[in-house]
């Protein structure tokens, strides 16, 4: 749906121009009109405040967790690049990459009660390998059964892939 144009300020200025002015770093470079207009000044003030707060958040430096690159390379070196055909017909074949299957499986797994972390997922054809950390407060067989069911169901619903086997390794447990 197309967006409706912004309502001009009482002084006739386009409020989006003021948004751009502040967020593009010119919030204090006022025009002659803006220096004497209370409407523009009020609008500029509120965006300057928002911009300053977001700039503060930017200063927080985020570092990848320890061992991140090692884990990435573990996946890369055992990568089973593959494609899964989800529809074969006279008009052509539809395939999805293993990456898509792995991504959807990971997301589905995170919603399963008792799954604390999905450490690795690999798809090859109709088989999926998953390495997980589980909550020790729940019976592990129940958690894994729920995991298999949720992952297979979600892959069928969202991707159209029927998974025949899900091999699960419980690498670690934690107590909630």
């Amino acid at each position: 749906m197309p967006e409706s144009p912004p309502v001009p300020l009482p002084c006739g200025q386009d409020p989006d121009d003021l948004v751009d002015q502040v967020w593009d770093g010119h919030g204090r470079d006022l025009t002659e009109h803006q220096r004497s207009c209370p409407h523009c000044q009020q609008r500029l003030r509120r965006h300057r405040r928002a911009h300053a707060l977001v700039t503060d958040l930017r200063r927080v430096r985020i570092q990848a967790p320890t061992g991140f690159a090692h884990r990435v390379m573990g996946r890369v070196r055992h990568d089973d690049a593959d494609e899964v055909a989800i529809h074969v017909g006279r008009t052509g074949t539809t395939s999805v990459s293993a990456t898509v299957v792995e991504l959807v499986a990971t997301v589905a797994a995170h919603d399963v009660p008792g799954i604390v972390q999905v450490r690795n997922v690999g798809a090859r054809g109709a088989t999926l390998r998953m390495t997980v950390t589980v909550d020790l407060d729940r019976p592990i067989p129940d958690t894994i059964a729920a995991l298999r069911s949720a992952v297979a169901r979600t892959l069928l619903r969202l991707v159209g892939v029927t998974i025949e086997a899900i091999d699960v390794t419980v690498r670690d447990v934690v107590e909630s």
Binding site: V19, R59, I62, T99, L103
Partner: protein, 191 residues
């Protein structure tokens, strides 16, 4: 004269070696750009586990698609695209899921009282960012947190610069509105 440390090998050289199957060259690229990929993913997804999964998946996608890297843009621009798309996929599959940012991402204030106020205002900003549609969120974070130019955001997200501008305006209005709401709540005597 001390020659100094050896010059760092260019990303494009490492990409070329990786394409030839040199996984150590790719490992160097991963080490170099881990913080970038994980940082974008954490800001997009707000959950450390999801962020690690998405950032890992992005690097695996990059490894599989090295042949698609044409070299006419920087490697980081290409990586931003893969990470952003991976996170957008995550968010679309997971619409409605709410997560919280780790406390380490909240800038502390000068003292306990300041810190509480700073944390609550930072939370408002973070929560407002989390309400943005995945594509808007990606544009906003790439421009504001990663400081990419409008043209670079357009290249990363494969949209026009005018689409970038409209996504940014929408996002900025949402954040300013959210802060207005907090201000009004604080002005109420029973707040």
């Amino acid at each position: 004269m001390n020659p100094g440390p050896p010059r760092e090998v260019a990303d494009t050289t490492l990409v070329a070696a990786s394409r030839d199957g040199d996984d150590r060259a790719f490992e160097e690229l991963v080490r170099r750009h881990s913080d970038l990929a994980y940082g974008v993913a954490l800001r997009m997804l707000r959950d450390p586990h999801d962020a690690e999964d998405a950032a890992q998946a992005a690097f695996v996608r990059a490894w599989r698609s090295l042949d698609n890297f044409r070299g006419d843009a920087r490697f980081t621009t290409w990586l931003y695209r893969i990470v952003a798309n991976t996170c957008i996929d995550y968010l679309r599959v997971h619409a409605g899921r709410t997560t919280t940012l780790p406390p380490s991402l909240v800038e502390p204030g000068a003292g306990p009282a300041d810190r509480a106020v700073a944390a609550s205002v930072a939370d408002v900003v973070e929560d407002a960012i989390a309400t943005l549609a995945p594509g808007d969120r990606a544009a906003f974070l790439l421009r504001t947190m990663e400081q990419l130019s409008y043209a670079e955001v357009a290249t990363v997200l494969e949209i026009s610069t005018s689409a970038v501008r409209s996504r940014l305006r929408r996002s900025r209005r949402v954040i300013a509105d959210a802060l207005d709401d907090v201000e009004h709540d604080q002005e109420r005597p029973d707040a």
